[in-house]
Amino acid sequence: MLKDEFFRTIANKQHPNEALVPTHCSYCGMQCGMNLRVDKSTNKIIGVEPRYDWPVTLGKMCPKGVTAYQQTNHDDRLLRPLIRDNPQLKGTKDGFREASWEEAYELIVRKFQGLQSQYGKDSLSVFSGVSMTNEKCYLTGKFARVALQTRYIDYNGRFCMSSAAAGFMRTFGVDRGSTLPWTDLHQTDCLFIAGSNTAECHPTSMFRVWEVQNRGGYLIVADPRETPLARRADIHLDLRPGTDLALANCMVNLLIQNGYADKEFVSAHTNGFDEMAEVVKAFTPEYTSEITGVAVEKLIRAAEIYGKAPEAIVMFARGIEQQQKGTDNVSGYTNMCLVTGKIGRPKSGVATFTGQGNGQGGREHGQKADALPGYRKITNPKHVEEVCKVWGIKPEEMPQPGVSAYEMFELMLNKTIRGMYLLCSNPAVSAPNQHTVRAALKELDFMVCSDLYLSESCEFADVVLPTTSWSEDEGTVTNLEGRIIKINKAQEPLGESKPDWQIHVELAERLGRGQYFSHLKTAREVADEFRLASKGGYADYYGATWDKIDKQDGVFWPCKSEEDPGTPYMFLDKKFYHGDGKALLCALPYRPPAEEPCGEYPLRLTTGRVVYHYLSGNQTRRIPFLNDMCPEPYVEVHPETAEQYGIEHEEVVRLYTRRGEVFYKVKLTQAIRPDTVFVPYHFGHDLSINLLTIAALDPISRMPEFKVCAAQIDKATEKSSRRSQ
């Protein structure tokens, strides 16, 4: 009883002398619909109203969404470019002076050209993000390859969606985060959700999740913590962090053993069953229970429920993906759908909860080290040729593939990369093993950072460029369903801030590459070129015109022509995107996390989000309501563990791993495994849990293992806690 139709009939509240601009939230992949309230006399954004008629979220918003508008006219906004003349001050907030755009551009061009003439084109790098529109993401890739002509570009999706992308690519031959629209979720009979703290990270999915139970359906949750989602699950598979692949293999094994496999589907539409079955055979409930710590009966019951469910959806998120076997975890859990044939139809399928606003679109259009628009590969000569045609360059001018986000920092340390253009990301908080990352940022000869606030990463920059907030520009974003939606402009850019696409064009012109960029004068013109560049790729956006997006409440890709309404459901024809049209059932031998607990480090450290913050917290920590609710990080510890260590609730303890130490207040809770501790990652400087996380990378997706490493806790002595201050 979700009353979708009722919500469509609710009128918007009209406030006197105000206009409402329909748009979407700036934060996560849910991209909740919202109306921004704009004061007609000042033309400034002053508030928010629910957008009841947005079909995915029906007006609902989490506290981040409700307060998102407060970013735009925030006192901390950067209004003019900043230059720091004294590189000794790198790593601090000090030494910046305001400058004109011309002076900033002149300095950037001089430094970039100097580095490239001395050390070669590839001495520069671009580090980007996906909390921005498709148009900006697309142009960032083109800027790196065509304006800077460097191979080194990668983005923060490498810390977010890369395992899901690689897993889906391997299994299906295509990577669309969800095989079905979110409006199907509540209509299914069983949700199997692994490694997703949905209630805190994608809260507006929750009314659909609870509705499955309201209808008598089942909720199965795999998570080391009893999150607000797991609290109400029919089965909570409370596994040890980093053991997902064993759990997934066990589920598939039990599905096969107990006759839930759809043999017809498997033989007609998949490859690899025999090899896969051979591998999962070993994962009996007993053996799996030993690895994962989950009770045998729960494993059996979970597989039985999923197997019996007429319709079921497997969902997962960073919990399973941010591991050095994240890609295998994704393919492993997806095997459940393929073995049972519960995919390629309404109400059944697989989905990942996309973390960032444009985590889906931003990974498809050429910001990745080896990717080009339309999900093309830079290593495929045909793909290169297609994109070169749109860009007007010769195929031989296309740079080689680069390296992944974390690996770029390693290249900074060894001076292969000497300059960086950082935008829409805050790796000085969000990247793993911060000691190395911060050292690498300091090592750069020249760094430009474009942001709307002075982030922790800006503190390492020589030039900071003030960029617009999401509400001061327009463009498209692809939400976690694969639905291309439209972000609308609600006010003029604050101060002298500019949208990133405009900065790219103006910088390209000053770098002497204007012929490839100068024609792009509006976001819509970038959109038109980008649609063309995606045409013919897997992620074909050609038919997703802004008009169609408005008319249809978004357009699901692929959308190949003006007439094509788009593709809400993937694989309805049971055709997957591999050459033979079949999906691959991957055989995935289990391997433990890179760091297993040991005598010295007996605990498992895992990290994640809280509902009040988004990513590195650069935005949300500045919003009073959100910061009041969660002003500092903490370490969640089970009372039994606390008793062993003799530590108490709210006591400050030293948490340490092989990479470093941090001091946190203890939050006692029984909602976590006694062998595991949890810390939210939204905080910077000395409070960053990423000072402790491990940079063990997935061999395929290059995703770091944020979700598990070996750790230990000490009572903080007076001396040690003073050190942290």
Binding site: K60, P63, G65, T67, W210, P228, Y612, A671
Partner: protein, 187 residues
């Protein structure tokens, strides 16, 4: 069509979006008027919202010596009228749920008004509009009856009033402020 604020505690995830949204109503001076509590903070993640229940015979209004708390025809118990409120805080003591808040600077009580400027126009209150979990819902009489039916299917009853599982009427009697007013002093 009369609609009700309906609360399904089980659904709450503690996101406090209802509090954030309360500040955005327009008539709320950017201040939230409700509460979300951790039920067992050291044990689990169960949280519950505590909203004004808009009592049929509200203690806050009954205790107000200045008749500053109006009750609308629809049953919404409004915030104290600025021109009438004398700042005595009887209401904040009287309310068994601790709902009314007090602004010292303004010498004024303020509380949930069920977003009356919205609900009178058929727009759901802000809290129920944004609630991502359907803990707070804005429902019709028919939908309420369906909820009651659903309760009756249960093998056990969590309510002492099995035939009216959604009612909030209590068996505890609470004294309004002022019980000592007529008391004769001993000397």
């Amino acid at each position: 069509m009369k609609q009700y604020l309906y609360i399904e505690m089980d659904n709450c995830i503690g996101c406090r979006s209802c509090l954030a949204a309360c500040t955005q109503c327009g008539g709320h001076d950017q201040r939230n008027r409700n509460y979300v509590y951790d039920v067992n903070p050291l044990v689990d993640r169960q949280t519950i919202p505590l909203m004004c229940l808009h009592c049929v015979n509200p203690a806050c209004a009954r205790s107000c010596p200045a008749q500053a708390i109006q009750i609308t025809a629809e049953g919404a118990v409004l915030s104290a009228l600025v021109e009438k409120c004398i700042g005595c805080q009887n209401c904040t003591i009287a309310c068994p749920y601790g709902i009314p808040k007090f602004d010292e600077a303004q010498n004024l009580m303020y509380k949930c008004d069920l977003c009356y400027d919205r609900t009178k126009e058929g727009i759901p209150p802000m809290c129920a509009s944004v609630c991502p979990t359907n803990t707070l819902q804005w429902v019709t009489e028919d939908e309420l009856s369906m909820k009651k039916e659903q309760h009756r299917l249960g093998k056990w009853m969590s309510s002492r009033e099995p035939f009216d599982p959604l009612e909030g009427e209590t068996n505890v009697k609470i004294s309004l402020p002022g019980i000592l007013q007529g008391k004769q002093k001993l000397f």
